[in-house]
Symmetry: D2
Subunit: 257 residues, 4 copies
C-alpha cells in the first residue's frame, strides 16, 4: 500500500495592515491550512482571503484557534477556565466555518495555536475543554495533536478523529516530545535534513532524537511546516518534492484518519 501523509501550515496570520507570512507562496505546496481566527492573529478580511486562497489551490482548511492575546501572538501561556476555553473554541471555529460556508467549503480540522497547543498536549483538563468545544460545534472535525499527548487521549475518548502531527524541522527528545524552542539546535534549517527526517518519520515512524538515540513516534498523519519567510517556503517546496520522490503521496489529512 502506498504511503501517504499530509502537509499542514499555519496561515492567515496577518492582521489589518500587519502582514505576516508568505501565504500566496506556500499555499500551492501544502494540503491542509490552519487558519487563524482573530484571537491571536487574523481578522475577518484576512480570514476571507485565506479561505478563498485555500479553495483556489484545493487545500483543506481547519481552524487555528488561539488565546485572546494579539499582543503576544497567542504564544504566552494563559490560565483560563475550561468553560472559557470551550467557548473560545466554539467562537473561533464558528467564525471560520462561516467564511468556509460562503465559498462552499467545509472545515476539515482544528489545530490549536501556540501556547494553547503546547499546553493542551500536557494538560488533561485543557485538552478536554478544547475537545468539548469541538464536539459541541461539529464532531466530524479532526483534531491535530502529537502522538501520546493528553490531547490524543481526550479527543479519542470523545470519539473524535485525531491526526498525529510531527515537526520535521524541530529537534525531538527521546520520549517523542519536542525539544524546547529555547534550546540550541531546537530548530533545523537545512532543507535536505528536514526532508530526510520527514521521510524517516513517515516511513519508519521514528526520528533520531537530540541525544542520538532513536525516538519512536507512532503513527504519522501530518507534517507541520512554516511559511513565514521565503526561505521557509523553499523548504516546504523541497519537502513536498522529496516526499513524493520517495513514493509518499501528499494528501489532505481528511483522507488519512
Amino acid at each position: 500500500m502506498k504511503l501517504k501523509v499530509d502537509i499542514n501550515c499555519d496561515l492567515g496570520e496577518s492582521y489589518g495592515q500587519f502582514k505576516i507570512g508568505c501565504d500566496e507562496e506556500v499555499m500551492p505546496h501544502i494540503t491542509s491550512a490552519n487558519i487563524a481566527c482573530g484571537f491571536h492573529a487574523g481578522d475577518p478580511l484576512v480570514m476571507k482571503h485565506s479561505v478563498e486562497l485555500a479553495k483556489r489551490h484545493k487545500v483543506a482548511i481547519g481552524t487555528h484557534p488561539g488565546f485572546p492575546d494579539l499582543m503576544g501572538f497567542g504564544r504566552r501561556e494563559m490560565s483560563l477556565s475550561p468553560e472559557e476555553i470551550r467557548s473560545y473554541i466554539v467562537y473561533q471555529t464558528g467564525a471560520l466555518h462561516a467564511f468556509a460556508k460562503t465559498v462552499g467549503m467545509k472545515l476539515q480540522h482544528v489545530k490549536p495555536h501556540g501556547a494553547l497547543y503546547s499546553m493542551a498536549m500536557k494538560d488533561p483538563a485543557l485538552a478536554r475543554a478544547i475537545v468539548q468545544g469541538v464536539v459541541a460545534f461539529d464532531p466530524g472535525l479532526i483534531v491535530f495533536a502529537q502522538a501520546k499527548s493528553e490531547m490524543v487521549k481526550a479527543a479519542s475518548k470523545a470519539g473524535l478523529r485525531v491526526a498525529y502531527e510531527v515537526f520535521s524541522d524541530r529537534a525531538y527528545n527521546r520520549d517523542g516530545s519536542l525539544m524546547s524552542r529555547a534550546a540550541s539546535g531546537a530548530v533545523i534549517e537545512d532543507p535536505k535534513t528536514v526532508t530526510k527526517r520527514a521521510v524517516e518519520m513517515v516511513k519508519n515512524k521514528r526520528v533520531v532524537a537530540a541525544d542520538g538515540k532513536v525516538a519512536d513516534l507512532g503513527e504519522v498523519h501530518t507534517i507541520c511546516v512554516h511559511g513565514d519567510n521565503l526561505k521557509a517556503v523553499a523548504l516546504v517546496k523541497g519537502l513536498r518534492k522529496g516526499l513524493e520522490a520517495e513514493g509518499i503521496s501528499v494528501v489532505s489529512v481528511g483522507n488519512l484518519v
Copy 2:
C-alpha cells in the same frame, strides 16, 4: 385576522467582568433577542450564556453585529470599506451561529448595532455591504430595518426577508424617521405612553410625530425595547401586557415575514 407583532431587545452585551443589562429579567417578556457578537460588546462566554437563556425562554435569536469598537460600544461612526463590512458581518454571524448550533437552535435574524444600524439606514453602499454579508452566510436570515430605509431597499433587492422595526419609546419626525437621541424629548420614559404608542403603531401603522402631526410608518413587524435597567424591564413587561390586552399577539418575527 388577529394582529401580531414581535418584541425585540439587545442582549448579551456584557463583557468579561463588565456587566450590562438585565438579561435574565427581560428575556421572559420578549420574542426576539439580538445578541452581541464580541465586536462592540459580548464575549464568547457571554454569547454562550445568552443563547442558552434564550433557549430556556423559547425566544428566537439573531445576531447583533457591530463596529469593532469595544471602547465606544459600537456607537461611534466608523468609515469602513464594503469589503470590511461584509467580512465583519460574516465573522460575527458565524460566531453566534456556532453557539446556536451547540444547543440545537437556528438563527432567525440579523440586526446591526448602534452606529452601524443608523448609518446603514441612510447609506446605500453600507446597507448593500451588510446585506451581501448576510446573503453570503445564510440567505434565510431576516434583516431588521426601519421602513423606507436604504437597508430595506438593499435587503429586498437581494431577496432577503425584512422585518420593519419601530421604537415605541422614541420620538419620531413626521417623515417616519427617528428624532435624534440628542434632541430633548427624544426618549419617552412613561410606560403608559410607550404602550399606547406601540398599540397605535401596530394597529394603525402610524405614530404622532414630535410636531404633533401624524407620521405614516407602513408595516410594523417588530418593536424594539431596552433592558439595560430594572425600570426598562418593567416597561417591557407593561408593553407586552398592554399589547395583549388590545388583542395583539406577541410572537417571534419569524412567523410574521
Copy 3:
C-alpha cells in the same frame, strides 16, 4: 504616638459604556485610590474622570497596572517575559501620570492588579521586573505589597519605599498569606467583623487565621477595601469610622512610609 493607617481601593475600572464600581460613593472614605490604566480595565476618559474625582476628595492616587487582558479583567495568569512586564509597567504608569499632571497631581504609588499582583508576591523574577519598571520611570513611587512577599524583597533591594498591605475582609492562612478566594469563608462580609479585624491588624500587627491560630502580619500601612457595590461602600464607611473611633488616624500612605 498616634496610630495611623491608609485605606486603599481599586477605582476607575469602568470601560466605555461598561460601568464597574461605585467610585463616586467610595472616594470620600478612602485615602489612596488605585486607578486602572486601560489594560485590564479603565480607558482614557475613565482615567481622566477618576483622577479628577480623587483630586476633588483630596485622595492620593496610584497606578493600578494589570495584564493586557480586558476580557479576563486581569485576573487570569499570563506568562510574560520580564522585558514585557517592565515595559507594561512603564506604559501604564506613564499614561496615568499624564492625567495626574493635567490636574496638577503627582502619583503616590503603584499597586499591580489581580493576577499580576498575586503572582508577583510569590515570583521573584516577576517582582523584580515590576520593580525595574517602577524605578525606571520614577523611583519616588511607593510600591504596595504584602509583608514577607517577594515583591517586598525586590522593591526594598531596589531602594523603593514599600507599603505593607492587608485585606481585612479576607481570611488569612497562619503564615500570613491570604486564603485562596476559592476556599469557603475566604471573603468576610460582615461589616463589624471586618472593622474589628482591621483594628486588630493595625494595633497588634496580627490577625486570627482561618485555623483559629494567630498569624503575625508585621507592619501594616494600608488596608485594601472594595467598592464594587453599595454594600461594599457601606462597609468602607463603617471601617473608616471604626478605625477612627479606636484612635487610629486614616491618612494617605505617602505619610507613613
Copy 4:
C-alpha cells in the same frame, strides 16, 4: 542665512510579532521620529525599543497618537467626542513620555496619525480637542500640521509652536492641500523627483501642483518620509543627501520653530 529643514518619519509601528517598517535602516537618516503609542500600532515593548533606537541615533522623538483602531491601523475615520479625543491624546502622549523619561529623553513634538491627522487638518473642533490634549499635558510640545490647516489655527491660538509639514512624495492640489491617495499619481515614487520637489519646497516655499500650476506652501519646517520598505529607505537616504547637496541643513524641528 543657511536654509534648514527637518525630516520626519512614522516609526515604531510594529505590534508584538507583527513587524512593520524598516526602523533600524531609516532612523540614521531622519531628524524627527513620530512614534506610535499603542492605539493604531505600537506596543509597550516596541515603544521602548523605538525610543532607545532614536536615542542611539540622536533623533528627536514625538508622539504619534492615533484612533483606537488596531485592525484599521488608525486609517479609518472615527467620529469621537472632543472629550474622548483630548483624553486619548493625553493617554498616548503620557505613555510615550514615560519611555522617553526612562532613557533621559524629552518629547519634542506631537503628530497625529492617519485619519486623525487628515481629519484634524479640516475639522476645527477636532483640531481644538487635539490641541487641548497637548496643552493639558505639556504646552512645550510642537504640533506638526500642514500650513493653512485648521490644526495650525487651533495650535497657534493656544500658543503652541507649530511645525509646517510637507510631503515631497505626494501630489498636491493647487490650493496647497494634498491630492487624495486614491487618485492616480497621488504618490510619487521616483527618488530624484521626490528630492527635487523637496528642494523646491524648502527653497521657494512652493510646489508644482497636479494641474501644472504652482501651489504656494508657505513656511516649510519638516518633510515627511516613509520607511515601510527598503525602497522607501533608499529614497530617504537620497532625499537627505540631495537636500544637503543644495546647502540645506537637515536638523530636528525643535531648532526651527
